[in-house]
Amino acid sequence: MNYKMIRYILSVFLRAEAALMLLPLFVSLVYGGEGAVWFLTSIAITLAASLLLGVKKPENDTIFAKESFVSVALGWLLLSIFGAVPFYISGSIPSVIDCFFETVSGFTTTGASILTDVEALSKGMLFWREFTHWIGGMGILVFILMLTQLSEGHSLYLMRAEVPGPSVGKLTPKSSSTAVILYSIYTGMTVLEALLLICGGMPVFDSVCYALGTAGTGGFAVTNAGLATYANPYAEWVIGIFMVLFGVNFNLYYLMLVKKFKLAFASEELRTFLSIVVVSSILMGINIYPIYGNLWETIRMAFFHVSTIISTTGFTNADFNLWPNFSKTLIIFLMILGSCAGSTAGGLKISRVIIMWKMAKRNIFQLLHPHSFGTIKFEGKAVDKDTGNGVAIYISIFLFILAGSTLLIAAEGFPFETSFVAVLACFNNVGPGLGINGPTGNYAGFSGFTKLLLSMLMLTGRLEIYPVLMLFVPSFWKKR
C-alpha cells in the first residue's frame, strides 16, 4: 500500500477544508464579526495538521482501489473531526461527541442534529453548519479534483469511492473538467434556488442557508421551528421542488446542457424516480387529507414530505409523528429507497432498486421455466453479471448493517420504531426519524456511544458502505 500517497491525499483534504472555512469566516465578518476569531483559529489548526501530514507530493503517485478506499474513508473522517473544531473551540456545542456528530451529520448531508436551540448559534456557525451540507453533497474529492490532479491517471478510483451509485460515468474525458461541470451545475442550481427564495420574501441569510442545505440534500434548519417559522407556502413549494431536482442524477443535467433532452428524459431511473414521487404524494395526500381538510394544503404537505424524505434531505414543516400509520410507513419506505445514483442524495438509490426488482422477476420466471434464457436491461443496456451481483451484495450488506445497528441501539432501551428509524435515517442520510428524534425533536437524547455509532453509520452511508467497511477488515491492513 502506498502510505505516502495516502498521507498526501489526506493533507490535501485538510488544505481544501481550510480553504473552504474562509467562507464562514467571511460570513461572520459580514454579520458583525461574532465567531470570526474561532474560524481563523480553526483554519490555522487545520492548516497545521495538513502541514504535519506533509506538503510534498510523493514521487510514486500510483494508487489503486485499495489506497483510494482508505484515503476517502479516512479523509472524510478527518474532514469531520476538523470541521467540528469551530463548534468546539467557540463553545457553541460543549460536548466533543456532539460536535463530531453534528459535523458528520453536516458533511454526510444527513441533517440529524443534537442542538436543542439552533437560534443560539452565531450566524457564522449557522452558515458553516449549512455549508458542510453543500460541500458534502457533491463531495470534497470532486472539489479537489477540480483544482488539482491527485494521482495521474488513477483518479477514477478516488472518484468512484466518493460518488454515489453503482457505476460512475464521466461526462468528459478529463476528470478535472468533469468535476468542473458538476460543480458548475451544482452552484448554478443553488444560486437559482437562493434567488427564488429571496424573491419569495424569506430573509436573505435564511434563503442562502436553505439553498445550501437543499443542494446537498442535507436538512439542517436555521430556526428551531424549521420551515414552519416562515409560514410561507411559496418557499415550501420552491424547496420541495428543488429537493426533487437535487435528487436527480447530475449527468442528466449535463445532457440537457448539451441539448440532448431526449436522451435525458429517456432515463429509466429518472422516470421511475418521478413516478414514485407522484404516486407516493397522492397516496400520502389521501391518507392525511382528514388532518388538513384543505385540498391545496394537503397537496403541499404530502408533496413536501415525500420530496424531503425521498431526496434524503430532511427539512420538515410538520410533525409527521402525529400522522396516520400508513403515512409513517410510507415515509420509512421512501427513506430506504433514496434518490437517483449520481445525485447528492443518499439511500439505496433508485437504480439499484430497479436492477434488484428486475433480477428478482427474472429469477422467479427462471424457476418456472428452467431453460429459458434472457438478459436484464437497464437504461437500454444489458446489465452484466458483475453489476447485478454487485447490487445484490450491496443490498445484503446494507441489510446486515441495518439489523446489527438497530439491535445495538435497541439495547439502550428505545422502542423498535425509534431505534430502527434512527439507524435508517442516519445510514441513509435523511435526518429526522420517528420518535424522540422526529421532526420536532432531535438526537440530543441518545447516549454518547449511540451518537458515535450513528456518526459512523452516516459516514458509511454517504460513502456507500465499502470505503468505511474496508477500514474494519483486518486483511486490508496486513502487509503480505
Partner: protein
Amino acid sequence: MKIVVIGAGKVGRALTEQLVKEGHNIVVVDSNTDIIAGIENSFDVMGVVGNGASQSTQEEAGVQTSELVISVTSSDEVNILCCFVAHQLGAPKTIARVRNPEYRNQLEMMKDELGLSMIVNPERSAALEASRILRFPSANDIESFCRGHVELVEYHIGEDSPLCGLPLSLLQETYKVKILVCVVRRGEEILIPNGDFVLRAGDKINITASPENISLFFKAIGSLRQPVRSVMIVGGSMMTYHLAHILLSMGIRVKIIEEREDRCAELAEDLPKADIVCADATSKDLLVEEGITDFDAFVALTGFDEMNIIFGMYAKAKQVPKVVVKVNHISFPEVFESSGIQSIITPKLIAAERISTYVRAMQNSAGHSTVQSMRRIVDNQVEALEFVVHGGDRYSGTPLRDLPFRKGILIAAIVRRGQTLIPGGSDSMEKGDSIVVIATNGVISELDDIFR
C-alpha cells in the same frame, strides 16, 4: 485536442497512454466492457462500450465534435468503416490501421471519401525498424533522421570496451571522429552528459553523427561488424512477411521457420526467394539442424513474447552475432537487460510513436516549425525529434550557447545543405536547417517548445 480512439487493443492502449500524457482529451471506444473498465482505471479518459463502427456509438463518444478519430481495431475492414462513419459524422481527420497490403492502393484512391489522413501499419513499420537494425548490427538500435544525414544509435558499453574511463571531452580527439554522445543511461538514471562526464562499463549511450562518422567511430573502438548477409526468422507472422520482403530486396538471404502449413504456403507464394521451413522451432535440435550457427542474425517474430525471448536467449547462447526479438505485450524492460538481448522491437509502440508524431504536427499553429518525425529512445523515456527551421524565428542566427533552452533539451545535430554538423556552443540554427532535438522531459510539438 479531442481525439476518439476506437479499439483498445495493444496499439490502442499504447496510443491512449501516449496521447493522455501529451494532455489530450481522449475518448476510448471498445466493445469489451472489461477492457474499457481497465483503461478507465489506468488513464484519465472517458470510455464508451459499443461497436465503434456504428453511428450511435460514435455519437455517444462525441465523434461529431472531435478533431481526430483513430481506428485501431484488429480488423482492417472495421477500421475503414469506422473512419468512413466518423468522417460522415463530421470528424475532420481520421487515421486507420490497415495491415493487409492488398488494401493499400485502393485506400489511396478512397482517401478523400474516408477523410483518411494517415494509414498505419504497425507490422510494416516494425519490419522497417528491424531491417535498419540488421543493416547496422554494431549498435543495439539505430534511428535515422534528416533523410539519412543523421543517425542516432544506441550502444552498450561492455566491460572490455576502450571507452571505459574516457571523459567525453576527449572522445572526439581520441578517435578523430565527429560524434556526439547525447543521452546516457546509467542504471535507472537518464542524463544528458557534459564534457566532464566519464563513461563507465554498463552505460548505455546514444550517439548522433553522420552515417560515415558512425561507421568510423565503431571501427575506431573496434566493434564494427559487417552488415548481415543472412537472417533466420522464427515465426511466420505478418511482420515476418514485411521484414523478409525488405531483406530479400536488399539481397540478404532469409530463412523462415513456421509451424502452420497453410501459412507456410502463403509465405512461399509471396516470398519465392525465401527459404521456408515448415516445422516446430521448439522441437529438439531443429534450429541447429537448420544451421542457426551459420547465420549472421536471428530474429524471433512468433506471436508469443515469452517464446521470442527464449528463442532470443537460445540464439545468444549459440553465438549468433545479432539477435533481434519482437516483444509486444510484456512490459518489463528489466527482464530483457538480464536476458542479454539488446535489440527489442515493439510494434505497438512504433505505431503509437508514428500517430503521436502526426497529432503533434496537426496541432501546430501555422507558420511554426513543426515536428517532421519523432522517435522514442531509451526504453521510451526520451524523445528524439526532427525539425526544419523556418526563417525569421527569434532563435535563428543566435549562437546556441546564448539561447534559453529548457532543462533536458539538447540540439544533437544540424544538417545544413546536406552537411551534418555536430553543434557546439558557437554554432547557430539557420533558416532551412534540419535539426535533431533530444528531449528528456516534456512534450515538444514545435520548435518554440524547446525554449523557456
